[in-house]
Amino acid sequence: MSGPATHVRGKKTLARSILGFVDKGLVNAVLVIVAIFWLVPTLGLFLSSLRTVGDSASSGWWTVFTTPAQLTIENYASLLSNPTITGSFWNTILIAVPTTVFVVIFGALAGYAFAWLKFPGRDWLLIVVIVLLAVPLQVALIPLARMFGTLGIFGSIFGVILFHVAFGLPFAIFLLRNFFTQIPAELLEAARIDGASDWRIFVQVILPLGGPAIASLAIFQFLWTWNDMLVALIFTNSGSQPLTVAIQSQLRQFGSNIDVLSAGAFLSMIVPLIVFFAFQRFFVQALLAGSQK
């Protein structure tokens, strides 16, 4: 509130700056409370995951503040020696990484075509992509379950990857096209005068310059696939299921196995949280560019 205070004339200034001071204190207080409210859920899950089944069944996680002795990494130890969980952790990686790679490659190729190549029907095709952005993936569940069944890839990691790549592409194309159009035309023309083919322009000009955009997309797509439950719930079996599906199957006996649940849920959050805190700028950029352009 220093803004108005410095701009008003005369006698109002003092009154306004006092008001501004109170106002600022109030805003800070409100936002501190909001921040605490937003942190408590995650904190609660984390602390629950560090308590034994017995403790979790008889008292709440907040009792660790008075009796910190109950903290233990037992749950994580037993989780990491549980082959279902470790197997599904690997499956999650085996699904999320290839999906991200394919979405980025195919999205970048198409994004370049939409941004810099002229071909008949381009605008209409782009509108189709924009329409597909909002298509709920529910419309593909039944036919693809059938199709994958016929192809013999129902229940395999490969099928899940295909599904995610298809539904990740509209956003990828849209996002990268928007970024690529902002690359200065002179750079492309200069390369073209030097006799570079479209392929070389793509590899040597677009990809390096589009690095931040591609990073944004990759992070977004990775988190999206990592966190998916619905597609995996239908298209994987007990051998190919990712963490989300493995953990949700524990939900039926909630309370009796809060130890597996809370530690498992937190385990599934660790990778996304690391990615988020390390690259949050890119993540935000993907959201901004994806929906504003």
């Binding site: 600022k24 859920p41 995650t42 039944i142 592409l169 690359i183």
Partner: protein, 453 residues
């Protein structure tokens, strides 16, 4: 490409600035574009567009797909209880969640401009976006557990409630058997009536040691009753560590303070009451001559306030929407905050100089300038909310699942989760598609407008 190209300097908008191609080179360019587009087109065609068509057709066929049933699945959708609940809940979601997230995000974005730790605040609010809805579901299911010893929300409510309410509750108490006490619907009373001017004691058992307040002292026998009085002691008839005689006020037995004692007249009305002191003694004064029953009302022995059954049918959708807001308010805040930083501040400054107050600056200048961003956020959230699945699948316990149902969950249940009716499932998927159509149209219009600028 080997063509000669006229150098195009300072071409403003990129993209379309290629020389007009002729004849064979035109076909060549088409082939090149096709080469770049091919992988994406194959994926989108085979795994998105074809399935849409398939699902549309499938929605007109029976559960097993064998016979054409026309609009039957769509009729079922709106007449079947479980699907209709799902549709109704989706409407509730769309009405509440996007608006709540957008408004909250707007408030956060405006307020955080005034603090020095804005980056930290943004990170905290935005962080839930990174985690899976499954994890968020596990978190909220734990937080809203009914038992106030386990669920943090009810724990907080019970704490607040007992800080303001009377806190002498002795759940589980019962009169010592064979000592002239009866218990009926929570009330502990003297078996027979007592003349005023006499004594009625209440040796109780069954009380947890931790519900006896710290203020409780060694139980003391009541002072002799005068005329018009009823006196007595209420105590915990147990000596810690064992020993003592049932019904006797021995050393080591604690009085139970704060218990309400009623003198009930013959016609059932309460003639007078008193509360026990630290030693468990009570004195009911001012009674007319006569016989009374002495009763300890049930309120003394209630479990007390135990919070709200959040995960019951009544509140479940509210709780799930709350968890959604916890996740998505950050998205709306980040979007709006970046929109705010792009606004030209001189307009606001000018308005302030002219004496406009903060509220008017916000409603007349900031909000209108923000409206494009607000629309983007709102539309994105609507598309997202319509498809909500994970949270509704994870949070409600079995008993509340029917009440929490939404279209995406119902679609999963009828097609894959045991319903085995892919005809109805397809119709539900198409309903979702129809519901996002308005948002698609808004997206296309926005895109076209931006191109024309």
């Amino acid at each position: 490409m080997t063509q000669l190209v006229a150098p195009v300097a300072n071409s403003p908008a990129g993209g379309d600035k290629r020389r007009p191609p002729h004849g064979s080179s035109r076909r060549r360019m088409f082939m090149i574009a096709l080469g770049f587009l091919a992988p994406a087109l194959v994926f989108l065609g085979a795994l998105v567009l074809y399935p849409i068509v398939y699902t549309v057709v499938r929605s007109f066929f029976s559960a097993g797909g064998g016979e054409f049933v026309g609009w039957d699945n769509y009729v079922t959708m709106f007449t079947n209880d479980s699907t209709f609940t799902a549709i109704r809940n989706n409407v509730l979601w769309v009405l509440v969640a996007p608006a709540a997230c957008t408004i909250l995000g707007l408030i956060f974005a405006v307020l955080l401009e005034k603090i020095k730790w804005a980056t930290a605040f943004k990170l905290i609010i935005f962080m839930p976006m990174a985690i899976s809805m499954l994890a968020a579901g596990v978190i909220f299911r734990g937080m809203f557990q009914e038992n106030p010893n386990l669920g943090v929300v009810n724990a907080a409510l019970v704490t607040v409630n007992s800080a303001f309410g009377q806190d002498a509750a002795y759940p589980g108490a019962a009169g010592r058997d064979g000592l002239g006490l009866v218990q009926d619907r929570g009330v502990i009373a003297s078996e027979s009536t007592v003349e005023s001017g006499s004594e009625q004691n209440f040796p109780l058992v069954g009380i947890r040691v931790d519900s006896v307040p710290a203020a409780a002292a060694q139980a003391e026998p009541a002072v002799n009753a005068r005329a018009g009085q009823l006196v007595g002691t209420v105590w915990l008839d147990v000596v810690r560590g064992g020993g003592g005689t049932s019904g006797q006020i021995d050393d080591g037995k604690t009085g139970l303070p704060g218990i309400l004692v009623d003198a009930v007249a013959a016609d059932g009305t309460i003639a007078a009451s008193a509360t026990t002191d630290a030693a468990g003694r009570y004195v009911i004064d001012g009674l007319a001559e006569g016989a009374y029953r002495v009763a300890l009302p049930a309120a003394n022995f209630d479990e007390g306030y135990q919070g709200v059954s959040w995960l019951s049918s009544t509140f479940i959708t509210g709780v799930i929407i709350l968890s959604y807001i916890w996740i998505w308010a950050g998205f709306s805040m980040v979007m709006i905050s970046s929109g705010l930083s792009a606004i030209d501040r001189s307009l606001q400054e000018a308005a302030r100089m002219d004496g406009a107050n903060e509220w008017n600056v916000f409603t007349r200048i900031t909000a209108p300038l923000l409206s494009p961003v607000l629309i983007v956020v709102f539309v994105t959230l609507i598309i997202n909310v319509l498809k909500i699945f994970d949270l509704v699948y994870v949070i409600p316990p079995g008993s509340a699942k029917p009440a929490a149902n939404v279209i995406a969950v119902e679609m999963w249940t009828v097609s894959f989760g045991g319903g085995n009716n892919q005809g109805l499932g397809s119709a539900l998927a198409i309903l979702l598609l129809i519901l996002v159509l308005p948002s698609m149209i808004i997206n296309i219009r926005r895109f076209r407008e931006e191109r024309q600028q």
